[in-house]
């Protein structure tokens, strides 16, 4: 009984976190702190920050990784599942609603113009994201080379994205092992 209640709490808390934050990632941090740290006392501030560090270097969406981690710590694997389901549920509901509504209006001229304008601005936002990520990720010449190489491979070869990422990881390990590079 106790654990069913706990699973319910995990689902509800992460549903709130998913439904009330825009953008995921860092934008979620204040909400997580209130819900998980100060209200529920499921984990400490430090654990949340560690989780963000781990989230940066594991596959998957950071919000989901955090929900899984907190859920797992509270109620084992099934707790992780409930935390994750909670954080993705609002997205599924909201996006399906919007997508089904938008379908009926997509041919209206005003919607066509608005979407064309939005596409241009989204490009600018994304350019900014790439710019910020590149600034943070490229710490030396090899990083610059990997950036250029990754872009060229993606543009001009049919090599799958996943293969490029694995190759980059291998190059990183080789560089550290054999290049005698200092800590990045």
């Amino acid at each position: 009984m106790m654990s069913i209640r706990k699973l319910g709490e995990l689902y509800v808390s992460f549903f709130k976190i998913g439904g009330l934050t825009f953008g995921g990632g860092l934008a979620m941090l204040p909400m997580l702190q209130r819900e998980v740290v100060s209200d529920r006392k499921w984990c400490t501030e430090e654990e949340i920050l560690d989780m963000y560090a781990i989230g940066q270097c594991t596959p998957g969406i950071i919000a989901v990784n955090t929900a899984t981690y907190v859920g797992y710590k509270q109620a084992g694997f099934i707790g992780g599942v409930f935390g994750t389901l909670g954080v993705v549920s609002p997205s599924i509901i909201i996006i399906c609603l919007i997508a089904s509504i938008l379908k009926n209006f997509i041919d209206l001229p005003v919607v066509v113009h608005a979407l064309a304008g939005i596409r241009v601005v989204v490009c600018a936002l994304m350019m900014n994201t790439v710019f910020t990520m590149a600034k943070k990720g490229i710490v030396d010449k090899l990083g610059g080379g990997l950036f250029a190489g990754g872009f060229i491979l993606a543009c001009f070869t049919p090599i799958p994205t996943a293969v490029i990422i694995v190759l980059a990881g291998i190059i990183g390990v080789c560089a550290k092992k054999f290049g005698g590079r200092k800590e990045a």
Binding site: G18, Q56, T58, P59, Y72, S91, G117, A124, G169, A175
Partner: protein, 184 residues
């Protein structure tokens, strides 16, 4: 069986998209070349809507892509498949690895992956830019200078410290207004 294909594709994306929600973008772009679930131009709309609705961006985009491919069941399959690899990996890390993010090998792998992920997202943005800025009418391909100007202008404004903090929703709303005003 479209659900099985969706499940496999999004499991793969969940496994290899490292570094947050936007890391899924190159993979979603890649899907447009292999399936007719959505076009690259629809992908731009999906990014905009995912950024301006609650919930983690990566989850929103997966839900949207799944919805376009196969309705509400598709949305659920895509989203759950995307989160599955993270669920497994995070539970393993929580169970077995202390200080995962401080591990030297893990650090070396991410030293290589970080700039590469930036490049891969850069490539996806390049594809989106082509859609937003180049129009083909009657077999004539030309750059739309209004769009180019607005895109560069927005990117410039994004470098201003005070404006950088504005929520993406504000930029996207501005884009919609500009699109309607200029009849883009």
């Amino acid at each position: 069986m479209i659900y099985l294909t969706l499940a496999i594709e999004f499991f793969k994306i969940g496994l290899f998209s490292i570094g947050g929600g936007m890391a899924t973008l190159p993979f979603l772009m890649d899907l447009t070349t292999r399936y007719d679930w959505y076009t690259a131009s629809e992908l731009a709309n999906m990014v905009a809507i995912s950024e301006s609705t609650p919930g983690p961006v990566g989850i929103n985009m997966a839900t949207y892509a799944g919805y376009n491919a196969a309705g509400v069941p598709g949305a659920i399959v895509a989203t759950l498949s995307l989160t599955a690899p993270a669920l497994i990996i995070i539970v393993l890390i929580a169970k077995f690895l202390e200080n995962f993010s401080e591990n030297p090998t893990v650090k070396a792998v991410f030293y290589g992956i970080r700039p590469t992920v930036a490049a891969l997202i850069g490539y996806a943005v390049w594809e989106l830019l082509k859609i937003a800025l180049i129009s083909t009418t009657g077999g004539v391909t030309q750059v739309d200078y209004t769009s180019l100007f607005i895109c560069l202008g927005a990117f410039g404004l994004l470098q201003v410290k005070q404006l950088k903090k504005l929520h993406p929703l504000v930029w996207i709303a501005a884009g919609a207004v500009i699109g309607i005003v200029f009849r883009m």
